[in-house]
């Protein structure tokens, strides 16, 4: 398991190659990457704040649950903080399992949980000013299916 919280950009291709190389014996690797999306009014910047210490702990617990539940060969999470521009990579998860169904399900589980259980907060700066992104009820509801 590899969990990283960092300000620096990362190379999604290099990370996926290295994760795949480490996932020896697994038949399936699934990855998801999240980018900064443009918004109405034009996004000038997104600032991501997090809770150092708790973030790493929460992500590790979430990934550990996924590894146990789907008998994953490996799991990877990288999530950035600091100031980002439209199109920049925010985060990435990857899962490795013997079969694709488990790898897909585990990746979705990781995404659902890290959206509303990992202590990150996004602030969007647009032409209309700066405001914190509100959590969606749908994100909380998404946890119920697990």
């Amino acid at each position: 398991m590899d969990i990283r919280v960092q300000e620096a950009a990362f190379d999604v291709g290099a990370e996926l190659n290295s994760f795949t190389a480490r996932a020896a014996g697994a038949g399936a690797v699934v990855s998801f990457s999240g980018l900064v999306r443009d918004v109405n009014g034009g996004l000038r910047a997104m600032t991501i704040e997090h809770y150092p210490g708790m973030t790493e702990k929460a992500l590790t617990e979430i990934a550990q649950q996924a590894v146990t539940r789907w008998a994953l060969a490996d799991a990877f999470v990288v999530h950035r903080y600091g100031q980002l521009k439209v199109g920049e990579l925010i985060m990435m998860v990857a899962t490795a399992a013997p079969h694709r169904a488990d790898a897909f399900a585990a990746a979705e589980f990781l995404m659902d949980y890290l959206k509303s259980r990992a202590p990150f907060w996004k602030k969007e700066e647009t032409g209309n000013g700066a405001d914190w992104v509100a959590a969606k009820d749908a994100d909380e509801d998404a946890l119920k299916r697990w």
Partner: protein, 82 residues
């Protein structure tokens, strides 16, 4: 003494990211009531606890969580990772 930390708009409303608080509050809810009585900025930040989440020693907790033995309490809005 207990460390109290704030994130996102809670930090902005209160005006500091972290402070030490002398308290005898038994639960998170009691601590909130104490803080609200101090100054208007706290009263404003804590006026709607349904919009808040709390962590005790870096683990999500509820407002009835006991503070005995706790070292760090964090208040923040619902998380928006991913």
């Amino acid at each position: 003494m207990i460390d109290v930390v704030y994130f996102a708009w809670v930090r902005e409303r209160i005006g500091v990211p972290r402070e030490q608080v002398e308290t005898k509050a038994a639960t998170v809810r009691d601590l909130i009531a104490e803080l609200r009585g101090r100054e208007e900025r706290y009263d404003l930040a804590f006026s709607d606890t349904s919009a808040l989440r709390v962590a005790v020693d870096q683990t999500l907790a509820d407002f009835d969580a006991p503070l005995e033995g706790a070292r760090e309490i964090a208040f923040f809005p619902p998380m928006t990772g991913g």
